[in-house]
């Protein structure tokens, strides 16, 4: 193009127009690249969820794991941050022996004075476990193994691990230890869904 411009008699308006066209062509190319990059970014823009699991009773252990494994099935990037009693869900031994409290449970058909008697928590737990088995609901350890398998990031809060005196190896293989509130918050800030259970 430049040789053409040189060969032609000096005509400022034509040279300007040629320069302008070249500029525009460059700009179009730039914008095309940007659009392509944006399209790729949109495809990669998978949803993410962070759940903070604080409870370790048999009933409260289910919702985080069910939501986490289902979200992972949607292809979401999922982290469950376990703290306080929620750590028991990740604990190899304790997760298989989670309890249900009979006291203060308005769904129990007995008054609190009776529910407080020795053995009542055991009874409530046994009843719940039987219902879980009768309805073919997965056990907590099955859900946990499945969640790890499908790519859910399960984290154990370091401060509460120390508080409860739990060692790293008390947890299932694949559980991330050595994380704290700042890790959870940083992930929550970027997540599409944040839940506290």
């Amino acid at each position: 193009m430049s040789s053409d411009a040189e060969a032609a008699p000096p005509d400022e308006s034509r040279t300007d127009a040629a320069e302008r066209i070249a500029e525009l062509e460059a700009r179009i190319e730039e914008l095309e690249d940007e659009v392509a990059t944006a399209a790729v970014a949109e495809r990669d823009d998978e949803k993410s969820m962070v759940i903070v699991a604080t409870q370790g009773t048999l009933d409260m252990a289910y919702p985080p794991l069910i939501l986490a494994s289902t979200a992972a099935a949607f292809g979401w990037d999922v982290t469950v941050f376990h703290t306080f009693w929620g750590l028991d869900i990740l604990h190899k031994e304790r997760s298989t022996d989670l309890k249900l409290s009979a006291v203060g449970n308005p769904n129990m058909s007995v008054p609190n004075a009776v529910a407080a008697l020795p053995g009542m928590d055991r009874l409530a737990t046994t009843m719940m476990e039987r219902r879980i088995a009768d309805n073919d609901v997965a056990t907590i350890d099955e859900l946990l193994e499945t969640s790890l398998e499908i790519g859910v990031e399960l984290q154990a809060c370091q401060m509460t691990m120390d508080l409860m005196d739990y060692d790293d190896d008390a947890f299932y293989d694949g559980v991330t230890v050595g994380v704290g509130a700042a890790t959870a918050l940083a992930e929550m800030a970027d997540a599409d869904v944040q839940l506290l259970v």
């Binding site: 495809r43 069910i66 494994s69 289902t70 992972a72 099935a73 949607f74 292809g75 309805n135 073919d136 609901v137 997965a138 859900l143 499945t146 398998e149 499908i150």
Partner: protein, 83 residues
């Protein structure tokens, strides 16, 4: 091969939420583009769940859902195409 013949059949009868969806996802991951997965479930919630899952998951298409009675039990049959 007839494209309506399932490439693979997944049996999740007797399993409850979230397993039908989670296992469907795992089965889909092992299949190739164009493959057809047939899922057999007894969980009544799987009809809505697999529909919702397929709608919200890129790369899969719910072909159809139907019901069969097998040994007095309703079996929900979901057919999912991998795109």
């Amino acid at each position: 091969m007839d494209s309506d013949t399932p490439t693979e059949t997944l049996d999740v009868t007797g399993e409850s939420c979230p397993m039908p969806v989670v296992k469907t996802k795992q089965a889909v991951d092992d299949l190739a583009s164009g493959d057809l997965l047939e899922v057999h479930a007894t969980d009544a919630g799987s009809v809505s769940d697999i529909d919702g899952w397929a709608a919200g998951t890129p790369g899969v298409e719910l072909v159809d859902q139907s019901e069969q009675i097998q040994n007095d039990t309703t079996v929900y049959v979901h057919r999912v195409r991998v795109e």
